[in-house]
Amino acid sequence: MSEALTDTPSTPAANDGLAVLESRKSTAETFGIPLAVLAELTHRCPLQCPYCSNPVELDRASGELTTEEWKKVLSELAEIGVLQIHFSGGEPTARKDLVELVKHASDVGLYTNLITSAVLLTREKLAALADAGLCHVQISFQGNEPVIADRVAGLKDSHRKKIEAAKWTRELDLPLTVNAVMHRQNLHQLPDIIQMAVDLDADRLEVANVQYYGWALKNRAALMPTLAQLEDTTRIVEEASERLKGVLTIDYVVPDYYALRPKKCMGGWGRQFFNISPTGKILPCHAAESITGLEFESVRSNHSIAWIWQNSDAFNRYRGTGWMKEPCKSCEFREIDFGGCRCQAFALTGDAANTDPACALSPMHEAIFKQAEIEAEGATNRFLYRNFAGGTLETGGDGA
């Protein structure tokens, strides 16, 4: 495996706020409140992407927090020291009260970010969000042209709408991040996607290879890139990052099946991140509900958000290093990657306390690496689309 395929450790700049603030407030004993929180306002979404990061068992609209409940949550978050709020979903613009929530978040001093598929936006709606204080827009793209993009999204005309919304975003002088989720069936478009981001005047591009939990795990055979594709990708990203310095910032996430070291998932369980599900559960990561046997507390409980973060069993279960088994327990990297991803460990080994098989030190690493290679070379291109019915298989042959 080439060196380029391993996770490159990010060296934080001297003025990297996270590093500085973490060193001041977060220690192994007292977990500082995260700087940013992800609010998944709803699981409803007009798109059906087969790698959706939402859980396979989606929250129904009837269970969603009300406008007043979300406002109370936002006020509480600001009060305890959260600085940024990412409004996500599902599709956050499916909530009719989004403008009101953005306004409230701004009023209580939160920096607001909208993570959207953009297909439900109109120029008026986006302008209203900007007026309400929205600070940043992130739009997901499934490709650089409609044929693949609309097929992956499972929604006709979605790509055109996204392009339109991205243009409105810049016209309204909002900073834009293009989020491109990459996999075997669209990786060949990467150079064009990078150019698309430049043409759209985006500030940032996230080249995010699919991470395989939940829906994506069900679709792994249709999505897993080949090793050759990945080597190309790394080369393309490195070349573009250099060429576009000062024009476009590119963040790159590799698929960890092909890495030697696991990712420091969520910066470590319960260390610097939580998200709030549509029904108000406070989760250590958006896939955490896939781990059975963990009870997650809700903002609807009698406990404060700060209490849940500090004290709830779900957060403390895999915090720090005390829960680790071998080979993590005595590993010199245990406080660097915290044993990788708990959700992936659970999904692939049945025990979230096992070493993430993405790690070369996991006894299962070789097997999953081989599996990835086999699936990437020979398997189906047919998607299982994400929906409330538990998924619908793509019609029409191989989908190729």
Partner: protein, 103 residues
């Protein structure tokens, strides 16, 4: 297009934080922060002082004069530091410039 936003900081610049970049005192952690897309920066005390003066009206030259007077320090040294600091922020897209006022 994106390149058009990029600015070169000089004594004549009238720098200001763009709308989407916010300088704020974080009460919880008792520290100044710059909030930007997907980023939280922790500027040091000097940077905070400079940024508070970046109102889109004052020129860098004037900001440096104020600081030189306040700290009774050599103007040249302050000028070099301030421009380097502001240029760094500008390169990251966290600083813009007020349009030239034609009076």
């Amino acid at each position: 297009m994106a390149g058009a936003r990029h600015i070169t900081v000089s004594e004549e610049s009238r720098p200001v934080l763009p709308r989407h970049t916010k300088l704020k005192f974080d009460e919880t952690r008792q520290v100044w922060v710059i909030l930007a897309p997907e980023r939280v920066l922790a500027p040091d005390e000097i940077a905070v002082e400079v940024l508070k003066l970046c109102d889109g009206v004052s020129r860098v030259a004037e900001i440096v004069d104020q600081l030189a007077a306040k700290y009774a320090a050599p103007r040249e040294a302050i000028l070099t530091d301030v421009i380097a600091m502001l240029q760094d922020l500008a390169d990251k897209g966290f600083l813009t410039e007020a349009r030239e006022k034609t009076s």
